[in-house]
Amino acid sequence: MLQETGTEWLSQEVKTGTTIIAVEFDGGVVLGSDSRVSAGASVVNRVMNKLSPLHDKIYCALSGSAADAQTIAEVVHYQLDVHSIEIDEDPQVRSAATLVRNISYKYKEELSAHLIVAGWDRRDGGQVFATLSGLLTRQPFAVGGSGSSHVYGFVDAEFRGGMSKEECQQFVVNTLSLAINRDGSSGGVAYIVSIDEHGTEEKVVLGNDLPTFFDQ
């Protein structure tokens, strides 16, 4: 580190090394993310909201390369807009996830981003879809980003079907807090989005309000 001139971060790719999670409950979904964007060892944005709206009741969570993820989200946002005008009603979550998957799969060699798509629609209620590497699979919950590997054990142990919206929100906040504590590329604040039949609610949990554990 003695030779570091301090400008390496200018030439390193900007990644949302991150933790993202989405959980389904009976009647909707809860999405959560941290807020750190890093370029090598530098944090270039400590308050980025990685939960991006694709439609009123459909959001996606971004991870991987910041540029790739944001671009996919913007393109799909546009495609969904056109699609919902064509069918003259709100789009299905599966449609949004399929659009994301189509881009991720077709350009899988060039892109390096993983988006989790979650939302509520009238036909199937709350749904969570993972689109890693161009697959499309519906899951009761999904985690992603560099911080997710540290919390696989926790989410496997703690997730139960049939949780209420408040229990899901607590589960998401706990998971994000644990991942932020262990992953150097995740940090900052926690953004939580809850979507159900009545609407979409966005919330921020500041760093010092996150849950703490036995060694803190």
């Binding site: 009761p140 590997s149 540290h150 919390v151 696989y152 054990g153 926790f154 989410v155 496997d156 142990a157 703690e158 997730f159 139960r160 079907g161 706990n174 998971t175 644990l178 991942a179 504590n181 262990r182 554990f213 036995f214 060694d215």
Partner: protein
């Protein structure tokens, strides 16, 4: 001297593994999975025991290259038994950890092995020490290691409480191993656990089909 490559295609048997140790009120639990694999493609042993006894009430768990770990624990066992004869008293847990640390640090270029040491001694009671790859030594109330440990950092941070009872700690350790084995393809088999207290040592083996199951199984 060439540093051996750290990637999974290194030749030789590696304990892609999950190991852990945790202190509870009156003792420690130390445990591991039982899988040894070559390059993550072939399971060379389904029932290897990675928890090694280095003295009456001191045990070690090994991670990394199986050959290196076995060689180091053999040398450590010898050093420790000689030390305890000279001192005319059972060795301290930190002495065992220090012996491992010296071996790992002085041979850091050639070796690729990490250790968790846990035990009970009369001076400080139950203790856990970790000696990772470079040869650092640090004491902690709970520690995890091996490739499978990345998946359970969140679980251990959330669920470990200092001064648990023996049963709670055993359940915690079994759950943690089961969760790691469920996600890491180079950890698996049975869960080997050893409970060490002032009064003695107890081995618990949990076969694969008796491990706790979680929502997705």
């Amino acid at each position: 001297m060439e540093k051996r490559s750290v990637d999974s295609r290194v030749r030789g048997v590696s304990t892609g593994t999950t190991i852990l140790a945790a202190t509870f009120d009156g003792g420690v639990v130390i445990g591991s999975d039982s899988r040894a694999s070559i390059g993550g493609e072939y399971v060379s042993s389904k029932t290897i025991n990675k928890v090694v006894q280095v003295h009456d009430q001191i045990f070690c768990c090994m991670a990394g290259s199986l050959a290196d770990a076995q060689a180091v624990t053999k040398a450590a066992k010898f050093h420790l038994s000689f030390h305890s004869v000279q001192m005319e008293t059972p060795p301290l847990v930190i002495a065992a950890a220090s012996v491992l640390q010296e071996l790992c640090y002085n041979n850091k270029e050639e070796l690729q092995a990490g250790f968790i040491t846990a035990g009970w001694d009369r001076k400080k009671g139950p203790q856990v020490y970790v000696v990772p790859l470079g040869g650092m030594l640090v004491g902690q109330p709970v520690t995890i290691g091996g490739s499978g440990s990345t998946y359970i950092y969140g679980y251990v941070d959330a669920k470990y409480k200092p001064n648990m009872s023996r049963e709670e700690c055993l359940q915690f350790a079994t759950n943690a191993l089961a969760l790691a084995m469920g996600r890491d393809n180079v950890s698996g088999g049975v869960a080997h656990l050893v409970v060490i207290t002032e009064t003695g040592v107890e081995h618990v083996v949990v076969p694969g089909n008796k491990l706790p199951k979680f929502h997705n199984e």
